[in-house]
């Protein structure tokens, strides 16, 4: 049975709404994706075609922050967390593409307050 995620709602990008300039904080990204390894079989015994996230990147106001190359050891529905610090308010934008050409993106904005 194919699983059809509802477009635009298959990820969570979590950032604190307010931070101080230069303060380190965590950006957390949770993506709904089966991360098919190509080794599993469906109910009819047919191999399920490999389908991994092949590119995953996050930028802040157009500036690259984080890029990941994911391979089949990464779990389905991957969770990624990393630490960043910013000087001014803006939004983070994450994009990814899988081997079947499905693309997804999500953004979240952070406001910097004077420290």
């Amino acid at each position: 049975m194919s699983i059809e995620p509802i477009p635009g709602r298959n990820a969570r990008l979590i950032v604190p709404p307010l931070v101080h300039a230069g303060e380190e904080f965590q950006v957390r990204l949770l993506i709904q994706h089966p991360m098919e390894t190509g080794f599993r079989r469906d109910v009819n015994g047919e191999l399920i075609e490999i389908n991994l996230l092949e590119s995953l990147s996050l930028d802040f106001e157009g500036q690259p922050v984080f890029t990941a190359l994911s391979m089949n050891a990464l779990t389905a529905n991957p969770y990624l967390a990393f630490v960043v610090a910013i000087k001014q308010s803006g939004s983070f934008n994450a994009r990814w593409r899988d081997q079947r050409g499905n693309v997804g993106s999500i953004s979240a904005s952070v406001r910097v307050v004077a420290s």
Partner: protein
């Protein structure tokens, strides 16, 4: 016919006697109502049998992959369900419930009933993304609340059928459900902790499945693990067992979407 030396056998007295007899029978039935093997004070959520890592993942909504299904369910609920249900909170506590014909209607079955009778749409396929999403969102909305059982649940045929199934020794390994989940919980089978076997965390994200699944799917996995015949998804015994597990859980709060091993 004389009922008593002092009384005339008027219809009023006969009726009263019958009424008292009924009350007495009812009281004795309640006294003798079967109780779950695990006492209420010893009831523990399945989460307490998982590793610290998995417990932390369940507690943190930003890391719990089940929340992805909750997000989608919230959208479907806002589109299809708010016409009848202004408030999703508490809906899941009424399920599984007993229908008048004695069969059990589960959370997923109720959603599909609404889908056909109210939304006037085609029922969702079992374990499909929208059905799981809606079920997870509805269950999530009752997080922390206890399931409400039908009155006199232990007198229902569904309870009796599930009780027989729960205690019936079956499969190549000569197991019944009770052997592990009522008697050996906290011990290990292969490399997993045996839980007390409740459904309060479902629909749950299972690491083994690498996805979220219903209690129906989990129960079928139990039968598979016992090396016995796995019932079809539509088999009413699975719905009966869902009701039976809710009875065994004795008010343990709902915690969907749980994360399980």
């Amino acid at each position: 016919m004389r009922v008593c030396g002092l009384l005339h056998p008027s219809p009023v007295w006969v009726l009263l006697a019958a009424l008292l007899g009924c009350l007495a029978a009812n009281a004795s039935a309640q006294l003798a109502a079967p109780q779950p093997v695990i006492a209420k004070r010893d009831v523990r959520s399945g989460a307490t049998f998982t590793s610290a890592t998995i417990q932390a993942q369940q507690k943190d909504d930003d890391r719990n992959p089940g929340m992805l299904w909750v997000d989608q369910g919230r959208e479907i609920f806002a589109r299809d369900c708010v016409g009848c249900h202004a408030e999703p909170k508490g809906l899941a506590t009424q399920l599984p419930r007993l229908k008048t014909d004695g069969s059990v209607i589960t959370l997923e079955a109720q959603i599909n009933r609404c889908q056909v009778e109210r939304v006037k749409a085609v029922a969702y396929p079992i374990e499909s993304q929208p059905l799981l999403s809606l079920a997870t969102y509805v269950a999530f909305s009752s997080r922390g609340l206890a399931q409400q059982l039908p009155a006199n649940v232990t007198q229902s045929h569904a309870w009796q059928r599930a009780h027989n199934e729960f205690t019936r020794v079956q499969g190549k390994l000569d197991f019944n459900c009770r052997a592990c989940h009522d008697q050996l919980y906290g011990k290990r089978v292969r490399n997993v902790n045996i839980s007390q076997g409740y459904g309060v965390g479902y629909p749950a994200y299972r690491v083994e499945w690498q996805t979220l699944g219903s209690l129906n799917r989990r129960l079928r996995a139990c039968f598979f693990g016992m090396e016995t015949t796995v019932p079809a998804t539509s088999d009413p015994i699975l719905a009966d067992l869902e009701l039976y597990l809710a009875w065994r859980a004795q008010g343990l709060p709902l915690e969907a979407p749980a994360v399980r091993r």
